[in-house]
């Protein structure tokens, strides 16, 4: 089998891969430790494997590795850390917009792509943008609420739209999501 050579950037780091021509981005990512992208169908039909390639959301399970040569790939691992969540991640946590979590990395990457191009989406636009990302656990309600709130967070702290991050819970008392929810690291906790 003929191997191909690929250079790309993943989460800001230069990476190169030699892989069979038939290699798919999801397999290569997972093999190299980027296991945040999940395998749910291998047919581009669930969205669990969503990552960004040059800012565009793609389902990595049907993206040939060859297609990312010379591109910038962003995965969930490139966003915030547990102590320093990206505002979208913080919004998902604080809205309890997650259960089993298997869809969540893909959901967040898709939301990030949306908010980068449309910082102030309507609920209908959020639902439209996430229509190819399935979730079996949540009924989507809290996810949509989290994405709308994340947009607001990103607008109100512009630094993060440049790739920075936000410490969850810096949004003042009364429950960061405005619903009085308590949260492990938020000042509104256990009030």
């Amino acid at each position: 089998m003929t191997d191909i050579h690929i250079d790309c950037s993943i989460n800001g780091q230069k990476r190169s891969f030699d892989a069979p021509r038939s290699a798919l981005l999801l397999d290569v990512l997972r093999e190299h430790g980027y296991t945040g992208a999940k395998r749910g169908c291998d047919t581009g039909a669930c969205g669990f494997c969503t990552v960004q390639v040059d800012g565009e959301p793609v389902t990595s399970c049907v993206t040939p590795l060859a297609a990312v040569d010379g591109t910038t790939v962003e995965t969930i691992e490139g966003l915030g850390s547990q102590d320093d969540l990206h505002p979208i991640q913080a919004a998902f946590v604080e809205h309890s917009a997650l259960q089993c979590g298997f869809c969540i990395p893909g959901m967040i990457m898709r939301s990030k792509a949306l908010l980068e191009t449309n910082p102030e989406p309507t609920e209908a636009e959020v639902r439209e943008a996430l229509a190819d990302n399935l979730c079996r656990c949540t009924g989507y309600k809290k996810i949509v609420e989290a994405v709308l709130d994340a947009g607001e967070r990103m607008r109100s702290s512009p630094a993060v739209t440049d790739g920075g991050s936000e410490v969850a819970g810096e949004r003042g008392a009364g429950g960061p999501c405005g619903r009085g929810r308590s949260c492990r690291h938020s000042p509104g906790e256990r009030e």
Partner: protein, 797 residues
């Protein structure tokens, strides 16, 4: 009192440890929406599911399963030579391989011995549906494994097959099981008619009630389809032998202890030599209440001598694993001139597909979950029959027969209400279950009175009231266009909290010097938030913050026994076990508090990270106690608590599902304008997570009502093999949803809680059928409800 150094305390940053001594405890951790225990690692992609452990095994082999291509027959030969010759192939297994046990077993994760028939083998010579596993391969990578799988040559001796329950029970129908191919202790089995089980129970005298002169008789026949769990994470298992020779499984399961026992029995190894570890699980919904792929993975491990990972494909999930049982139901009601229900008679015929896992137990729940909604109906009968066909097997799925039962009972009750000229809401308010009622219906299939239950908490009327207000029951505006008609429907829902008399949960808890606690618990979190709930329950007893509880769960080497996460049992059973463990530890906290404060234990309480005196207000922090107990001069103790819980109780949570619909009479198309679900799950532990259960359950219920079904060719070949063919609702398919949590107090539950996980999967089909009835006057009795069916029904009127 001071501590020798300055240990890190997770709560310091919040200033939580400086609560005023002796003051009233801060808000009860039980009723707060504490952040989900695993939330941060989920959103950062660090949460590890089974397949993510691959990186720990450099010599990992990848498994794949070869499945029957015919619906019924005998595998006579499998030529493996070509596959074995492929470079990178480590093992090829067939039903004849030495590593593959021949033992009959049931895959159902149920108590022992499993009530489900023992009717399957790990790899099957007698194949009974397109998808039955017949061979397996382990290879260096997935691609090689798949190539080897394709290189097998399988020879079959094909037999006649049967695809519907009607034909299957015909004496001339092809027989799926010979007598020596199954061990079955269920009632009513008759394999000569492909009947896996038959059962029935009666309260009062139903026939006599139906013959009375003063009753009208109403009847509905209903059909419900297959539904796929669409479990987000396909089944995945890694099997290996560790350096101590322990047979270890990292596996996506709801039932680690059942799986451990079943593996030990199947492979004839001592239970103690098997370790089952549950990592994060991409949900279960019942399809992982089974030992599905663990035996094949283990046999591949034995044959290849390497750690083996097996991950199913989405196609296998849809067509070869487990689904919700399709059923045909008939429900009859006798209603008196005064508008009282004199009798209800429910019959179900369940299609269990090729194997009997959860066949009878699911069918039993069709009646025993919905009928208790009306405990004052004097005459009740419930009968059922479970029939094999050459289609994929049904199994446990969230709701477990209750969605089918609610579809029958709650549409019939709607018809009865309309028949007697009552508002369906008002009729339910009058007749539905109340606190204090004696519910015999949930025990209708049991002998004796052991499982007859007293209803000790019931919020049905508040659910009806608040739900009706939210949906606007009284004030539905009709659309201006004359071909559009709007209607509202309601359906009551009930479930249980664990399986009465068939549960056990256990937990142990030990204190660390810093005032935190390590909790080892058998309870299984498959994503719903049980681990979070456990921290809240423990914290509420110990008087600390949920952050001070470190959970290690569902690893059979570390955590004590638990039946697993199914039947809405985790909060009620495992949560109570955690509560007992915490109470046990709290006694020791009081002892040490008394020692340090020099006050009697009887005046001491825990709260705000302290043991404090209710008398003097003096207090000592848990951290001070932690250090003192570990390093004290005259006396030392590991402060620990043990707890377990088992019970005959299974209090039902209740709910009311409302649907607001607009129907186009020209096309039969309908649009759901809003869903409202009001739930009584007792005292709500973590409202945000409870709401999530309701919203996710409604999602599945919406699918069941409107879009989900599996299709097959006339030869039993699955046509639904991916999300593109299956109608799982997307963000854009969901109508607005409102969730109302109605609090009651269940005296037998931990802090007054009942279950919530399955309850909301029961309501949308009947409530939608009732709403369509309200809008355009026709009754839809087949799921999913399609525009064509609505139009057809309209044409008939």
């Amino acid at each position: 009192m001071s501590t020798p150094d300055d240990p890190a305390d997770r709560t310091d940053a919040d200033g939580e440890t400086t609560a005023d001594p002796g003051g009233t405890p801060a808000a009860d951790p039980v009723s707060s929406s504490a952040e989900k225990y695993d939330g941060r690692k989920i959103v950062t992609g660090e949460a590890k599911y089974t397949a993510d452990y691959r990186t720990q095994f450099p010599d990992l082999a990848h498994g794949t399963i070869v499945r029957s291509e015919i619906p019924h027959g005998e595998v006579t030969d499998i030529d493996t030579s070509e596959a074995e010759a492929i470079e990178g192939v480590y093992a090829v297994l067939t039903p004849w391989s030495a590593e593959v046990p021949e033992t009959l077993y049931s895959s159902s994760g149920q108590s022992y011995p499993e009530p489900s028939p023992w009717d399957m083998r790990v790899l099957r010579r007698h194949v009974r549906f397109v998808g039955d596993p017949i061979a397996a391969v382990a290879a260096a990578d997935r691609e090689t494994a798949d190539r080897a799988a394709r290189a097998l040559t399988v020879e079959y001796d094909e037999r006649a097959a049967v695809f519907d329950t009607e034909t299957a029970t015909d004496p001339d129908a092809p027989r799926l099981f010979e007598d020596d191919e199954v061990e079955n202790s269920q009632t009513g089995a008759d394999y000569s008619r492909n009947v896996e089980s038959a059962f029935g129970g009666e309260i009062g005298d139903v026939d006599a009630a139906f013959e009375r002169d003063d009753v009208d008789r109403l009847e509905l026949e209903l059909e419900t389809p297959y539904q796929s769990h669409c479990v987000p994470e396909p089944h995945a298992t890694i099997a290996y032998t560790d350096e101590d020779g322990r047979r270890t499984f990292i596996t996506a399961t709801q039932v680690p202890n059942h799986t451990r026992r079943q593996l030990a029995h199947l492979f004839d190894i001592p239970i103690r030599d098997v370790r089952v570890k549950k990592p994060r699980v991409g949900a279960g919904f019942g399809t992982k209440q089974e030992m599905v792929i663990e035996p094949i993975t283990f046999a591949l491990h034995l044959a290849s001598g390497r750690p083996v990972k097996l991950e199913l494909s989405r196609q296998e999930e849809f067509s070869a694993v487990r689904s919700r049982h399709p059923m045909s139901l008939r429900v009859r009601g006798a209603v008196t001139d005064e508008g009282e229900i004199a009798a209800l008679d429910l019959h179900t015929r369940s299609n269990s597909g090729a194997y009997g896992t959860h066949g009878m137990t699911v069918a039993s729940n069709v009646g025993t979950k919905a009928m208790p909604l009306y405990p004052n109906v004097p005459n009740l009968r419930f009968t059922g029959e479970v029939v094999h066909t050459n289609l994929p097997m049904g199994a446990a799925m969230r709701g477990y027969g209750a969605p089918q039962g609610h579809f029958a009972v709650e549409t019939l009750v709607d018809e009865i209400a309309r028949h007697v000229g009552a508002d369906p809401l008002e009729f339910r308010r009058r007749h539905a279950v109340r606190e204090g009622d004696l519910d015999e219906a949930s025990a209708i299939l049991k002998d004796g009175t052991r499982f007859v239950r007293r209803i000790r908490s019931c919020g049905v009327r508040e659910c009806l009231e608040r739900g009706a207000e939210a949906i606007g029951w009284e004030s539905i505006d009709q659309p201006t266009a004359s071909h559009l008609h709007r209607g509202v429907g309601v359906a009551l829902c009930a479930q249980g909290s664990g399986v009465a008399g068939k549960e056990l949960g256990a937990a142990k808890l030990f204190m660390n010097e810093d005032g935190s606690f390590s909790l080892h618990v058998g309870g299984v979190d498959t994503g719903t938030g049980n681990d979070t709930m456990f921290t809240q329950v423990a914290a509420a007893v110990l008087g600390c913050s949920p952050d001070d509880i470190v959970v290690t769960a569902a690893d059979t080497d570390v955590a004590p026994f638990d039946y697993g996460s199914y039947a809405s049992s985790t909060t009620y059973i495992s949560g109570t076990a955690v509560k007992h463990a915490a109470e046990d530890a709290k006694d020791r906290l009081r002892y040490w508090g008394s020692k340090l404060l020099e006050e009697p234990e009887s005046v001491l309480e825990t709260g705000d990270g302290r043991v404090y005196s209710e008398q003097t207000g003096e207090s000592v922090t848990l951290e001070e106690i932690g250090y003192e107990a570990a390093y004290g001069h005259d006396e030392r103790e590991q402060i620990m608590g043990h707890g377990h819980h088992s019970t005959d109780e299974s209090p039902p949570p209740f709910g009311a599902q409302f649907v607001d619909v607009t129907v186009d009479e020209r096309t039969g198309e309908y649009e759901i304008n809003e869903l409202v679900f009001a739930a009584d799950c007792g005292v709500v532990i973590n409202p945000a997570l409870a709401e999530g259960q309701v919203e996710g359950g409604e999602h599945m219920s919406l699918e069941y009502a409107t879009s989900g079904t599996l299709e097959f060719t006339d030869d039993g070949v699955p046509k639904t093999v991916g999300f593109r063919e299956y109608g799982m609702p997307r963000t854009t398919d969901h109508p607005p949803m409102e969730t109302i949590l109605v609090e009651t107090h269940e005296p037998t539950g931990p802090f007054g809680a009942k279950s919530i996980g399955e309850l909301p999967t029961n309501g949308v089909p009947p409530a939608l059928s009732n709403a369509v009835r309200d809008a355009v006057g026709v009754r839809l009795t087949e799921l999913p409800i399609t525009a064509e069916a609505v139009l057809e029904a309209l044409d008939r009127t």
